[in-house]
């Protein structure tokens, strides 16, 4: 079990535009954490800070009590696996080799039976078995996403960060992947942090939801029942909705009217 703490984390790409402002929360139980919030609110920036892809300009992030400032990127890679929103390969390798790259930290020069076994299990879990020897570039966007996810899983890290892992998936695979991540985090005790735009996926599968709002702050953190409310949705997204309870979890039904304030329709910057 791994504990991640963010203490007053701020980040700016340049002096004038802060992206994250004084973000403080902690993830001290294994489980599926979903980060939701409008475009450009700093969700990707936040997870990249946890992953040391970006260095916070202020504040501190600790993993199991150790500040990631004091860790090398290799050490961070032993704790945290990261699956970016879109991945590509300039020179396409077969799916099996593409996933094997995820074993980089655990592998010696030779590929062992153990490495292959884990890769095969990951392919089995993500329904990629039949594509093992297909070139990565022959696949569709949804298949790419599942390969990238498999590459994250085979790293066998206690923390897994996913940037919109379900964005290109069809509904069946969306539900399947979300269900799988929840099940996996519960049973193996890993922490899965996922950025998600689908409120209903988040509401149904997340253990905890982190709601971000402009200008790069955490609005609230809590269970789906606590944070998926009409008030929060209106405040964050500026859109009216109705929350119904379906199969024991809140379900958001959007209305066609914007929230009270017309100016609330602020498209923001694309992230």
């Amino acid at each position: 079990m791994t504990k991640i703490d963010l203490n007053h984390v701020s980040f700016k790409y340049n002096a004038s535009t802060p992206v994250l402002k004084d973000v403080t929360f902690s993830m001290d139980h294994p489980g599926l954490y979903c980060i939701i919030g409008p475009n450009g609110v700093g969700k990707s920036t936040l997870v990249k800070c946890i992953n040391k892809l970006l260095e916070p300009t202020e504040g501190d992030i600790t993993i199991d009590g150790r500040s990631i400032k004091d860790m090398t990127i290799k050490e961070v890679a032993d704790y945290v696996a990261f699956v970016p929103a879109n991945s590509f390969d300039c020179f396409s390798m077969p799916v099996i080799d593409t996933i094997l790259i995820g074993r980089h930290n655990k592998q010696k020069w030779r590929t062992t039976a153990k490495d292959l076994n884990i890769v095969h299990k990951a392919m089995d879990m993500l329904d990629l078995g039949s594509l093992a020897m297909h070139g990565f570039n022959e696949l569709s966007a949804g298949q790419h996403q599942r390969v990238a996810l498999a590459r994250g899983l085979v790293q066998e890290t206690p923390v897994l960060i996913l940037d919109e892992p379900t964005a290109n998936l069809d509904v069946k695979h969306q539900v399947y992947v979300a269900e799988m991540l929840r099940d996996l985090s519960t049973r193996s005790g890993i922490t899965v942090i996922m950025i998600c735009h689908d409120l209903n996926i988040a509401a149904r599968y997340a253990h905890q939801i982190i709601v971000m709002a402009p200008p790069g702050v955490v609005d609230c953190v809590g269970t789906p029942d606590e944070v998926i409310t009409e008030d929060v949705i209106r405040r964050i997204y500026g859109i009216d909705c109705e929350i119904v309870t379906f199969e024991n979890s809140p379900h958001v039904i959007l209305k066609s009217t914007f929230g009270a304030d017309e100016d609330a329709l602020d498209w923001g910057e694309e992230s």
Binding site: F82, I96, D124, E179, M180
Partner: protein, 378 residues
């Protein structure tokens, strides 16, 4: 998800698959089988390399046989064997094969290996299928450095190492340039190559200017470089070149797994614990050294580094752990074959190897440019 129809509850299937994932040794039998499959797939790569080695040995035989003094094909191998075992029977033939014809072949092998590995590394690190030491201007930088050393008479003072060192120093200028272009946002692969070609022109112009101060004999030598040639090579040049190229290939091979990680993109690489920018600089400096060592003795042989990795990828795929050694071997085979063709095709007129490679590589370069949306581009 084959059993969706049978059991529509996703949670059941998920639970089953996660159980399999969490279990230590699931499906041992299937695992054994897939491991064998993978081994067969890897074995194919070794077969490709073995075939290339055979080609090199064959072409080497032809290359040392070919010439005005008639020596048989098999006899050539016999003479080389006798020389190696210190059992020389015919000193004239021994001299012709070992001292006159062999250096050309050996330099061809080393140059082909060095340039091809340089190309493979540049393509993977820059994620650019058009990159090699020629198209990025690294070779031109090295060539200018070497010309400078020669016309200033540094050779007399410090020997051929001085040329290589100077070539290396000047090869670092285009290298630094490429690294900064690759950091630019929105720099497409083509932008990078355009910058490389601009650098190439600038350095080639400088080289031409240098030639104004060169004396007759140096001029002839410098001219040959600008075409790219294996002619006039002797055993004296081999050691420096072999040491630099071999050291480079070994270093790159040791980093080849990191190169695979690097080729997945900077963010993924960092997330996997590889510092992408640092690794890129290390690899490109090694490339500059290898290119400088080759260019100092053979001049500007273009396109070997560009073409070879692409051909190799068609046969064995893009995994750098195999791409690097296979490119080295295939590049050697390609260059010695091209040199032999150049000598044979318009005989007795000799086409320099750089010209032959341009005839092979130019169209290939165009073809790569045209099929932008192909697999090579992703």
């Amino acid at each position: 998800m084959e059993d969706y129809e049978a059991d529509p509850r996703i949670s059941r299937i998920v639970s089953h698959k996660v159980t399999r994932w969490l279990s230590e040794d699931a499906d041992l039998e299937q695992q054994e089988e897939s491991f064998l499959d993978y081994k067969r797939y890897v074995a194919r790569k070794w077969v490709f390399m073995a075939i290339c080695v055979v080609v090199i040995v064959m072409v080497m035989g032809f290359a040392v046989t070919y010439g005005t003094y008639d020596i048989g094909f098999l006899e050539s191998y016999q003479i080389i064997w006798d020389h190696l075992t210190d059992n020389i029977t015919n000193t004239t033939k021994d001299h012709i094969i070992v001292n006159l014809r062999m250096p050309r072949v050996v330099v061809g092998i080393v140059a082909g290996a060095g340039l091809s590995v340089a190309g493979a590394v540049m393509q993977s690190t820059l994620m650019n299928p058009l990159a090699d030491s020629y198209t990025t201007g690294v070779s031109s930088g090295a060539s200018f450095g070497a010309t400078l050393a020669m016309t200033l008479g540094m050779t007399a003072a410090a020997g051929s190492q001085a040329i290589v060192i100077n070539a290396f120093l000047f090869a670092l200028i285009p290298t630094a340039m490429i690294i900064s272009v690759s950091k630019m946002k929105n720099a497409s692969p083509t932008t990078m190559i355009m910058a490389g070609i601009a650098i190439m022109y600038i350095f080639n112009a400088f080289t031409t200017v240098m030639m104004l101060w060169a004396d007759e004999s140096t001029l002839a030598e410098v001219y040959q470089w600008q075409v790219g040639t294996l002619a006039g090579t002797t055993w004296n040049e081999v050691p420096v070149m072999i040491v630099a190229v071999l050291a480079g290939i070994i270093a790159v091979q040791l980093l080849s797994r990191k190169l695979n990680v690097l080729a997945t993109g900077d963010e993924t690489a960092r997330a996997l614990g590889v510092d992408a920018s640092k690794m890129r600089i290390i690899l490109l400096v090694i490339v500059a050294l290898m290119s400088a060592a080759v260019v100092s003795f053979t001049g500007l042989i273009g396109f070997v580094g560009l073409v070879t990795p692409h051909i190799v990828r068609i046969f064995i795929g893009a995994d750098n752990r195999y791409l690097i050694p296979a490119s080295a071997i295939a590049g050697s085979a390609l260059l010695v074959t091209a040199d032999l063709l150049g000598r044979a095709i318009l005989s007795p007129v000799v086409l320099q190897v750089g010209v032959v490679m341009a005839f092979i590589g130019g169209p290939m370069f165009l073809w790569l440019l045209m099929r932008k949306n192909s697999r090579v581009w992703g």
